[in-house]
Amino acid sequence: MAEVIWQHCLGHLQAELPAQQFNTWIKPLQIDSLSADQTVRLIAPNRFVKDWVVDKFLDRINELASEAGSESMPVEVGVNTKAPGFVAPASAIPQPLMAESGIQLNPAALHPVAPGAQQLISHKASIVAAPKAKEITARPTAIPNNRANKVIGHPDSLNNYFRFDTFIEGKSNQLALAAARQIAENPGGSYNPLFIYGGVGLGKTHLMHAVGNALKARKPDAKIVYLHSERFVADMVKALQLNAINDFKRFYRSVDALLIDDIQFFAGKERSQEEFFHTFNALLEGDHQMILTCDRYPKEINGLEERLKSRFGWGLTVAVEPPELETRVAILIEKALGLHVDLPHDAAFFIAQRISSNVRELEGALKRVIASAHFTGRAIDVPMVRDSLKDLLALQDRLVSIDNIQRTVAEHYKIKMSDMLSKRRTRSVARPRQVAMAMAKKLTNHSLPEIGEAFGGRDHTTVLHACRKVKELQDSSTEMREDLKLLTRLLTS
């Protein structure tokens, strides 16, 4: 009955609402087949969609439902709390396809995710390859072990590009690399856990994946799980919600190697720490390898239990430092090679000299250079690199204010700030004021009346006159040209 009522509502709403609104808010609603009471219960993909629908459409939906004969069946909208992630409606995709190919409907492509989805033009109901079937989609007691592993697990979570042969060795990462190689040869040995710490973008994740890939290459059926700490927390929350914590435990304690990135995000999450503590102990007892990365030394992680900090130090703790110049050059050349781009050594050297903080910034710069090379058709050399990175290297596009212009110009011409705004018309004051007005027009977005107002309530025609006068002087006087150049540099650098 509820299904019939909802179909009636859908038909009318589709006709009444613009397609965008219908697709964004109404289409993702699903009828709750489990609703046993006398209600038509609709399930929204998240709380925002629910709130939006209740606020904007529920009255109309109830009207339509009444028309369809459900006066005694009020319509309710709820949220899918059973699976806070995204669970494909079973009817949406043929089961054999899911089973055989590991392809599943990606419901996020069906559902608006937030009210920002009002801006969504179209949610394409698409079938997307899902290499990582991470969601827990059913009560674990009802699913066999191998399937539980499949839904919780991370079978293809290793990035194939992150290998030892693509990792550039330097003084800054020598020790970490040696330890990682050692572990790849002899997992679960004395370097367990391996704790790699250091700043962002220095290759911690790369090393971790490299070990995973090496282990996988040696033993293809090994269960190597890489995940970000946030994923561990999310999986655990879902498992708790689904009353499937035992399956969660079973899964994580059964892996051959567990690689967890950025464990600083465990800070303050006590229940996750508790669970991780037991997982950690179980894996260590079974001589299964663990590799953890963090942005700081274990003892320095605030909000992390002492017993965990202590255990993290049981194996080997190694730091990675920012790469030195030669390593940065080598990294750039390696990355360019990976993108099939010929990066001359001197161009790589130029970039590496100027960007020293971390590898991600180097990557960003390289991508920018490659994009420019594609666009202009120019070969990559130092002048071309300098040209394409000039805006990237500028730290900030300083927004210039009229006030700042007035102060800078007054200081340059050695007049008082109050003179900028005064009615005095002597040349020693009027000329700097004109320069400041002209610069305000050039460097800000203020209108001429606004600029006039900022200069002691002058008319916009005065500003216009000042702009013309300064232009004339600029054309005729070297001194004025130099002044303007200097002032512009002072204000914008």
Binding site: D51, W52, A117, I121, K124, G364, H374, D397, H446, S447
Partner: protein
């Protein structure tokens, strides 16, 4: 915590397309345009540098490009999400971003609006990781280069910096005038050079205000059955 009710009156503008984005030949603006067009067609993989961050001052065309990329991606059959973060910053980040990573293109407009909000920074950091895993791409706009955005979370800042970063320069006066004229023509508004000059000299000179004045002027022109003349502007805007 009680659910917050969003009440946003925002939508993708119908006229934000690549083909009405004015970019002079051989300029950085044209380079950005060409890169964005190419990216949608070629479906670049994340390893090839799919994430793009555009930065520049207000009125340099950032929102237009992000929305145009959305239109283009939809035309290519991709799933998209456009989020103007200045309007979303006061809402729980996790709820807003939940499930977004499954989209093929995610546009985060005005990312600086959430800089310094720890919850948002962490949620965006996770979104970056999830998008990378899922093979989607992010198109981000900001008012400054990544390192100048004042994000507290270094992990997020470095990921932003790893994007292909382009600066969009401010429009010159001549470019702004050309855009106003172009938009006027699309509105069917007849505007002489003198009238255009009058508008440019008196309205606030950022592009948003100019376009806003143009739309208001269009309303007055319809109301008074007049061309966009100087007297009409004086009457309309009290200049």
């Amino acid at each position: 915590m009680p659910a917050q009710q969003l009440n946003l009156a925002l939508s993708l503008a119908d006229d934000t397309h690549f083909d009405n984005f004015l970019a002079a030949a051989q300029t950085s603006r044209q380079q950005v345009l060409s890169t964005l067009k190419l990216q949608c067609k070629e479906q670049l993989s994340p390893s090839a540098g799919a994430n793009i961050l555009l930065w520049g001052a207000t009125g340099s065309g950032l929102t237009h490009l992000l929305q145009a990329a959305c239109h283009d991606a939809v035309a290519c059959g991709q799933s998209i999400q456009y989020l103007p973060l200045e309007a979303m910053a006061s809402y729980p980040a996790q709820d807003v971003l939940q499930g977004l990573a499954a989209c093929q293109l995610i546009c985060l407009d005005n990312i600086q609006a959430v800089a310094g909000i720890a919850e948002w920074e962490e949620a965006l950091f996770h979104l970056f990781n999830q998008v990378m895993t899922a093979g989607g791409r992010l198109l981000i706009s900001a008012n400054a280069a990544p390192r100048a955005l004042c994000f507290q979370l270094a992990d997020l800042e470095s990921r932003l910096a790893a994007s292909t970063v382009f600066q969009l320069p401010q429009y010159s006066e001549a470019e702004k005038a050309a855009i106003v004229q172009f938009r006027a023509a699309r509105l069917g508004l007849i505007m002489s050079e003198e009238a255009l000059g009058f508008l440019m000299n008196r309205a606030p000179r950022d592009l948003h205000s100019l376009i806003d004045h143009l739309h208001r002027l269009d309303g007055f022109a319809l109301q008074y059955q007049s061309k966009a003349t100087i007297p009409l502007m004086k009457k309309a805007f009290g200049w």
